[in-house]
């Protein structure tokens, strides 16, 4: 099995997809979806209590994927752990064979199903990347040597359509300075804008995977625009979905078209199919 890291560093267009852990210990659906994707994607991102909704841990699910022969990208947010727990879990992931990690701030607790919880954010995403870089060098964040460090392939997130753009750009550059080597972007819709971003990102030694969010229906697009920060589905795509006989098929077609477009100027695509992981195969096939 070629690793995600080898694939993307080789210059090949690399596809990753997101899989969401179950809300409990029954992993049968999770594994069924993972097996569908095996061999079709270079790595599967395992989300970390996405939208601040409590689920099975991203670390445990990353290890389950490893056992299935799928290279996991272990997502780690800053929301639920302080710097001690963060380092401890990252070391744990390495010891269990996980090799890719994605550092994120994390959706705020106020979006989730445990709104009374304490939002931790002891570190932010830039500081989390720095912490991983230190563990990679064999020390903890206090520079004390470890008995065995890590060598993670570290990723981060960028929002190429953020407004205002300049503070986001400065943060993107800080993440690179801190040690991020690949970026999976938030959902992109404005390809022209994203193309310009990729041209600018070529000035840095990082790989960019464009975020593609599967629109399952026009209703979902409206929901995203209303409820999900940082996602703005343009009117023309919503119209395209609305006029379709089979909206899911249309959504898959749109996503496939976007992945295909990315192939001409980007290092890879990161497909987010939220609950509809079986469609990732159709998207990949449609993009061929």
């Amino acid at each position: 099995m070629q690793s995600f890291k080898d694939s993307i560093l080789s210059g090949r267009f690399t596809i990753t997809a997101e899989i969401c852990p179950p809300k409990g210990t029954d992993t049968s659906d999770f594994l069924k979806k993972a097996r569908l994707l095996k061999g079709r994607i270079a790595a599967a991102n395992v989300t970390d209590n996405q939208r601040a909704v409590m689920r099975l841990s991203s670390l445990a699910c990353s290890v389950l994927l490893l056992r299935e022969g799928i290279d996991p990208v272990f997502q780690m947010t800053c929301r639920d752990r302080n710097r001690i727990a963060i380092q401890s879990d990252i070391l744990g992931a390495w010891a269990l064979g996980v090799r890719n990690i994605l550092a994120l701030s994390g959706d705020h607790v106020s979006f989730g199903d445990h709104r009374e919880a304490k939002a931790v954010f002891d570190l932010d995403s830039v500081q989390l990347i720095q912490a991983i870089s230190k563990l990679n060098k064999g020390t903890n964040v206090k520079d004390a040597p470890l008995k065995g460090g890590t060598d993670f392939f570290t990723g981060a997130v960028v929002a190429p359509e953020a407004e205002p753009w300049e503070p986001e750009m400065i943060k993107f550059e800080k993440k690179i300075e801190a040690g991020a080597r690949f970026f999976q972007t938030q959902a992109i819709y404005d390809m022209e804008k994203f193309h310009r971003f990729c041209e600018y990102a070529k000035g840095f030694n990082v790989k960019i995977l464009g975020g593609i969010l599967l629109l399952k229906s026009a209703k979902m697009a409206h929901f995203l625009n209303k409820n999900v920060p940082g996602v703005t589905v343009p009117e023309h795509l919503i119209n395209e979905l609305e006029s379709a006989h089979d909206q899911l098929a249309k959504g898959i077609e749109i996503a496939a078209r976007q992945v295909k477009e990315l192939k001409s100027f980007c290092n890879g695509a990161h497909i987010m199919a939220i609950g509809q992981e079986e469609s990732v195969v159709n998207i990949i096939e449609g993009a061929n």
Binding site: C78, R79, R83, L104, S105, G106, D107, H108, S110, F111, A119, F121, D122, L123, D124, S125, V126, Q127, Q130, V141, V157, A159, A162, E163, P164, E166, P167, E168, I170, K171, E173, K174, E177, A178, Q186, P229, G230, T232
Partner: protein, 222 residues
């Protein structure tokens, strides 16, 4: 200023179960301005308590209820009424409740009538905005006087999160993103280079509780 809000009267009555003679404390400072513990609110509370069958033995309105020595003085000046009571109800912030509880001693309880919320800027008359978290490690010099630890719900120190939408905050779309504001201000000051520096993780050892400060020069005067 410390912002407070009133607790449910039902909660207050639960506190006072089995206590019939109540002595009230307001606060002529922050709680007076929040309209939670001024003269008016103490009077209204006394009426409610009487209506609920309690006996109000007296009330005090210290200039600042967080001054323990001032509470001692009020206890002395209204000794008869204080001694007649079997509980204190304090319409002030938590520091006020603590001051009354400490002076009341171990045997007579002091209960809070308010919840204490935050340290505020008075932005307009009656408008209270949280701008400082008293973290013990001020970084306002690097952030244009806007505290990301306080004004960003995630307390992020190195720029906006993915939830910034058109310069607004994902947690409250009515509010400006703290980092969008910091960016604008530093840009206007020609200091964007400051934004490019990675701010290290916060040193929380500066805020291990309880914190105590003793200003020795003031002690000598006292």
């Amino acid at each position: 200023m410390i912002i407070t809000k009133k607790k449910d009267f039902k909660t207050i009555l639960e506190y006072l179960t089995g206590r019939e003679n109540i002595y009230l404390f307001g606060c002529n400072s922050c709680a007076e301005q929040c309209e939670t513990g001024g003269e008016k609110e103490v009077k209204a509370m006394a009426e409610l308590l009487v209506k609920a069958g309690k006996n109000v033995t007296g009330a005090s309105m210290p200039d600042e209820t967080c001054y323990t020595m001032l509470i001692k003085k009020h206890f002395r000046e209204d000794r008869a009424a204080v001694e007649k009571s079997d509980a204190f109800l304090v319409l002030a912030c938590g520091a006020g409740v603590k001051a009354v509880a400490d002076i009341a001693g171990d045997e007579k309880p002091a209960f809070p009538a308010l919840d204490s919320l935050y340290l505020a800027n008075v932005t307009r008359y009656g408008h209270f905005f949280e701008g400082c978290s008293l973290c013990g490690e001020c970084i306002l010099g690097e952030t244009g006087g806007i505290c990301p630890h306080t004004q960003c719900p995630k307390g992020l120190l190195n720029g906006p999160c993915g939830g910034m939408v058109n310069g607004k905050c994902e947690v409250n779309m009515e509010s400006d993103c703290a980092w969008a504001m910091i960016y604008r201000r530093l840009k206007a000051q020609g200091r964007l280079n400051v934004l490019k520096r990675i701010i290290p993780p916060k040193d929380h050892s500066n805020s291990v509780k309880p914190r105590v400060v003793i200003v020795e020069s003031r002690m000598k005067k006292g």
